[in-house]
Structures are given as structure tokens and as C-alpha cells.
Assembly symmetry: none
Homo-oligomer: 219 residues x 4
């Protein structure tokens, strides 16, 4: 009852805490642990095939314990997706520190995206959950928005710096890049379990970025 009440109990835990962070540390670890195992399960099997009991088994706990930290299965998926969305800004931030030219920064961002899909379970799970289009989408950002906005920033800077030919509209390029990266990731997953993710990403760069790069600006 009283649905919108709270996302999950962890919220309440945090609220109730008044500096006594001791116990909660364990709880937070437990929660994170469950989340990690859930991410694995979602990544491997998709939302429907995952059972709470299965997640609990992976996490070495009982289903009841999982329900202490997450109100229901949807919220578990929600939490994974939420964490998934934090990955891209973090990645962009790291790239920003690297002091590269705008075009090179964009390329580096794409390359690290590929790595994330290969290695980061949360990213894999998030992508899969998103693709499965569960009905209740909560109030999360729309799919592709976060990543699309970051791409847009990188591309915008490259256009502004004069590194790119302006043969194609900036917004169009972003959309095609987004589509190509998403498609690449998915197909690489289906065909090679992501083994060729990096080569395929290089091909995207070759096909979409190299051609519009002004001569003499290559990294």
C-alpha cells in the first residue's frame, strides 16, 4: 500500500541515521553487495528470468533480506539502472582530465565506452534492462539521454574547435553516433559476447569521425 512512499528502505535508513554510521556501514555494504549480484544476474538473464530468490542465493542471503533493502523486484532493477546512469558522467569526467583535443577526447570517450561494456557488469545490466523496456520506468532519465547529452558535449566542442568539417549537422552526427554505438554494443554482445567490442568501436570511429576530421588535426 501507499506505493510511491519510498523507493526502497535504504532511503529510510539514511534518513533515520543521525550520525550513527556504524551499523549502517554493514547495511550499506550488504545493499551494495546485493546490487552487484543483481546486476550480474540481470546482465546475464534479463529482468524476467531473474528471481529474487536467485539474487538472494547469489548474494548468500535469504529473499527476505533482499526485501529489506529493496521493496520489490522493480526497485532492484531501478537501483541498478540508477547506478548505470552514473557511469557515463564519471567516464566523461575522467576523459576530461586527460587534456586531449576535443576530437581526441570524443574518440577516447567512445573507446572507454567500449571498455565499460566489456568489463562493467552494471553497464551491461543497465543496457539490458533498458532494452527490455519494462513498463514502469519510474522517474529515471529517458534511455540514451544521459549518454546522448555527453556525446553532444564532446561533439560540440570538436565542432567549436574547428577540428570537424561541418558537412553534417552536429545534432545529426550525435544521433548517428549514438545509434552506431548502441547498435555496435548490442551486436557485439549477441555475436561475440562482446569479445570484438573494441575492434567494432574502432570501425565506428573510422566510419563516422575520421572522414569529417580536418587534415592536420589528427592525434
Amino acid at each position: 500500500m501507499d506505493e510511491a512512499e519510498e523507493r526502497d528502505r535504504s532511503a529510510r535508513v539514511v534518513v533515520n541515521s543521525r550520525g550513527k554510521g556504524l551499523k549502517q556501514e554493514r547495511a550499506l555494504r550488504t545493499r551494495a553487495h546485493i546490487l552487484a549480484e543483481a546486476a550480474k544476474a540481470f546482465a546475464l538473464h534479463g529482468f524476467n528470468a531473474v528471481t529474487i530468490q536467485g539474487v538472494a542465493d547469489l548474494a548468500g542471503m535469504t529473499a527476505g533480506a533482499v526485501y529489506f533493502h529493496f521493496a520489490n523486484k522493480q526497485h532492484l532493477a531501478y537501483a541498478v539502472t540508477e547506478e548505470f546512469y552514473t557511469r557515463w558522467p564519471a567516464l566523461a569526467g575522467e576523459v576530461a582530465k586527460l587534456d586531449l583535443s576535443p576530437a581526441d577526447a570524443l574518440i577516447e570517450f567512445l573507446r572507454r565506452t567500449a571498455l565499460a561494456f566489456q568489463n562493467d557488469t552494471v553497464v551491461q545490466a543497465g543496457a539490458r534492462l533498458q532494452i527490455e523496456r519494462l513498463d514502469a520506468q519510474f522517474d529515471l532519465p529517458a534511455p540514451f539521454d544521459v549518454y546522448g547529452r555527453l556525446l553532444s558535449d564532446f561533439v560540440g566542442r570538436a565542432y567549436d574547435s574547428g577540428e570537424f568539417d561541418t558537412g553534417i549537422g552536429q545534432a545529426s552526427l550525435v544521433r548517428v553516433l549514438l545509434s552506431a554505438m548502441f547498435g555496435t554494443q548490442h551486436i557485439s554482445w549477441v555475436r561475440s559476447d562482446r569479445a570484438d567490442m573494441r575492434e567494432r568501436t574502432e570501425e565506428v570511429i573510422q566510419a563516422l569521425i575520421d572522414p569529417i576530421r580536418r587534415p592536420g588535426t589528427a592525434g
Copy 2:
């Protein structure tokens, strides 16, 4: 269980047929009808959310009737997917009849692909079922293979005809095109329920094909 047994009963029907075409015709129509309704359901809700009872309701029959034509739910999905795979060669065949230059034929094929995603429920259903990666994959062609091969043919002819710059490898171009089209279709579905599918496809053409087209070969 007893898997290899038969794909579905319709096979047997065909085998058993010895001139009693009357009943079979009705049965075939019923089967096709169920399939069409199942495609709608799968396209809208995905495999798991679809129930046999739901399909039966849509088709105006009972679940038992569905089970007469399809051994189980997997086979229903299988049949939809199978039909989905026939769409691409058909589409390519139509394009071939149009007597276009190889590059124009490729472009036309992409444009018709976009239309198919917009209008053809079987295509929509097939794409969604494939994306959901159900465990039992039967002995169908691997996802993207059929479409990829056709793309490869079109691109190959364009390369051979000298319409395309050879800046990027042929196979690479095909893969990026495939990824971009798949990604475009999915994102267009998520974001606009496929309303902008055509504009987005034009952007793919602009970004991936126009730049490598030799001057003076434009349609």
C-alpha cells in the same frame, strides 16, 4: 520435452495432406491468423508479458486452439521470428527489380527497411523477440545474419561499381551500417515510437554513405 520431435504441428499437417485441401486451407488461415495476432502481442509487450491466453483472446479462440497449431509458446515466437527473417530477402528482391545504381539500391534498401520497421508488425515483433535473447534459440539463422548478408551484397556491388571511395574497408562499412541501422531503429522506437524513423534513417545515409560517394555518382 522430446524436443526435436517437430517444430510445430503445422508441419505434420502439411505432411499429412493428401488432397484434402479444404480443411487445410481453413487450418492454415487460422494458423496465419494466430501468428499475426501473436506478432502484435510480442511487438507490444515482449515475450514474457505475452500469455497464450492473451494471444488466444486476441485471435478470438481458446488457448487450446492455439496449442493445436503451435506446440508451445516458444514455437509461437519461433514461427514469428521465422517469418520475420523472410521479410528482408523479400525487401531486397523488390529493390533489385527497381533498376537502380548499386549505391542507390543500397539507399533504397535502407529506406524500405525503415518503412518496414514502421509498418510491419512481424518485423517489429521479430526485432523485439531477438533483442530479448530468449534462451532457446532453435536452429534459426543467427540474429542480424540475414540482414547483414543482404547489406553486404548491396555494399559489395556499390564498391565493385566504383561508386564508393575505398577509404574504409567494405566489411567494416557493412558492420557499421548494420549497427547504425539497428541502433537507429531501436532508439526511434524508444523515443518516438518510431515516428521519426525515416528522418533518422536519412541521417544515417548522410553520415555513412554520402561522404564516401564519388562525386558525380549521386542519384
Copy 3:
């Protein structure tokens, strides 16, 4: 989803039936059988303590079979209550055939009420379910309405016939009689498992009816 749809599947069965009453006879028997066992269970343990599995066990079937006939547990209780409500008019009808004076008819109705509480599981179950005041009360008549109206009829006829003193208002008498009978039944249940139901009912008659009966009208 689509809640109000149908009360339970039996409705659909009936609707779908087009004269082929054969199969349904078995189904109807099964349904009645489940209902009878459910009544026993509800009478003994109350709504909450009864499980669908328990009813199924009593009925010698699986829970799934129960769900074929009744959409859910609430509807099972609903069906029992519905049948419970048919009992009182039936009882009144039998009494009416007996050709008694109005006052005697009233008394006979009360006595048979007592017997029904002693012997009729559906009556016991209905009374208990009603007392537990489950939230969703469907569109059934309000509790006590059916019985109250019948009482009102009997009392009214006795007043009209001049058998009763008019010391107390007719409507008041009905309400007190109703309360006394309901209370008697419940207390008899709690205290003696209904063993003394008949004596207690006689006491109600003595206390409430005998005093207002005109001399010379006794049965």
C-alpha cells in the same frame, strides 16, 4: 487487470455454452463441490485462516483447479455468501407452505433458523464471513437485510392479523428480534458450538413474542 470483468470463470462458461450442456454438468458439479468444501473451511476457520490450497485439498483437487472455477479467494467467499443469502427466502417459502397462523409462522421461521445454523454449513460459513467484515463486500445485499426483510414480513402479518399486542412498534420489534437471533446464534456458537441453539431460540421466543401475544391466540 480489467477487474470488474467477471465474477468468476463460471460466468464465462455459461456464456460460452451454446446448448452443449454436457461437459458443463461435470464442471458445475465440481464447482458446487469446491463451494461446499470451501463453506466447511470458512465456517471452521474463517476467511483468513483458509488457504486455497487447503480448500483444494479438501476438494481433492489442485489449487489450479480451484482457480479455474473461482478467480480468487475473495470470489470464493463471495460465492459462499451469495449462496448463504438464498437460504433465508427458501426457508421462508417452506414455512409459508405450512398453513400456520402468522404468529406461529414467525415462530416456526425462527425455529428453522436455529436448525439452519446448527446443520447448514453454508449458513454457518456465510454468517462467519459476514461477521469478519472483509473489505471488499462486492455488490451483495447488505448483511442482515435479507433476513431482516423476511422477519419484517412475518411480523407484519402477525400484527395485521391482530395476534400481537401493539405495545411496541413493529419495526422496533423486528430489529430487536434480529439482534437477539443474531446474538443468540453467535453466543451459542462460541459457548456450546451451537449445541444449545434450540433452547436459546425458545428463550428468545418466550422473551420477545409470548409477552405480546394476545390471549387465546396461542398455537
Copy 4:
């Protein structure tokens, strides 16, 4: 589990107390507070629909705190019922102080009973819990015993004083009165949420007491 152990921990608290009245006072207040909220909940929703967590929420505490004061949910209900039973003797005591004739005292007692059902949450909760017939009945007085005995006292005194006709046996009158009052209370609850409790009680008095009252003894 170890049933007879202890009713609830409050017992131990009392035993252990040796002058440290300070803490206990808070504990006792907490306990009383929980009990009051539990009574509200039981009165409104019945035993099964009440959850320990719900009571804790109402009381502004955690479920664990409730479990400190009450061993389990049954004991919570037990404690409410126990308090419920104290109400009737208290009521009778107040009436006794009023210096009324025996018959008038009886009537006053009935009227105050009606008021209690209207206003006293504990009474409402107790009545409901009793009616739901939970399995474990502890060692509480049997339902209706306390109230019945008091009624018996009042009626006995009225008989002894010669205010009542002896047309009906004393014990019978008590039983019918008890039934009528219980039924009245329940039906008034169901039909009008107790709004007409007082009028209905007057009708009981009219129907059961007035007719047997000797002329010239009216209040």
C-alpha cells in the same frame, strides 16, 4: 514455542522493579501507548489485517520496540482483550454508585454499555477480537462471561426487589438480554457504524424490560 513462558515482558518488568520507578514509568507509558494504538488498529481492521509494523508505525516506533513490550501479535491482542474485560466491572461500579432502583440500575447499565461501544476504542477492539475467534484463547475468561455475570447480578437484584414479573426465568432473561445487546451492538456497527447504537438499545429495553416491569415501579 515455549508458550506458557510468560504472557509478555511487561510481567517481568514489574517483577524486576525494585524502586527504579523512573525508567519503568516511561516503559509503562510506552506500553500503554502501543496498546492504545493497537486497539485502534484492531477495532478498525481486525486481527489479521493488523500488522506489527502497522501498529509500530501508528505508535511512532519500530516493530522491534513493540516486540519488547509484547511477545508476539497474539499477546498484543490478548492484552487488548484483557483490558477490554476490565471495562464492564468498572462500568457496573459506576452505576452502583448512582443509588438507583435495581431495575433502573440495570437499564442504566445497558445505556452505558451502548455509550462504551460508541466511544471506547478498547471496547470496540475487544468485541471485534472476540468475534473473530482467534484460535489461541489464552486463559482469559470466556467471552461474554464477565458481562453476562454482571447482567445476571443486575437482573437478580431486580427480581429480588420484586420489580420484575417472574413470567420468564431469570437466567433466560439474562441470556436473551445478553444476546440482544450483543446483536444490537454488532448490527449497529455494521449498518450505521454505531451511530444508532443508543436508539437500538432503547428498543431492547422496551422490548425486554418494560413488558415485565410491575406497574408502579417505573423510574
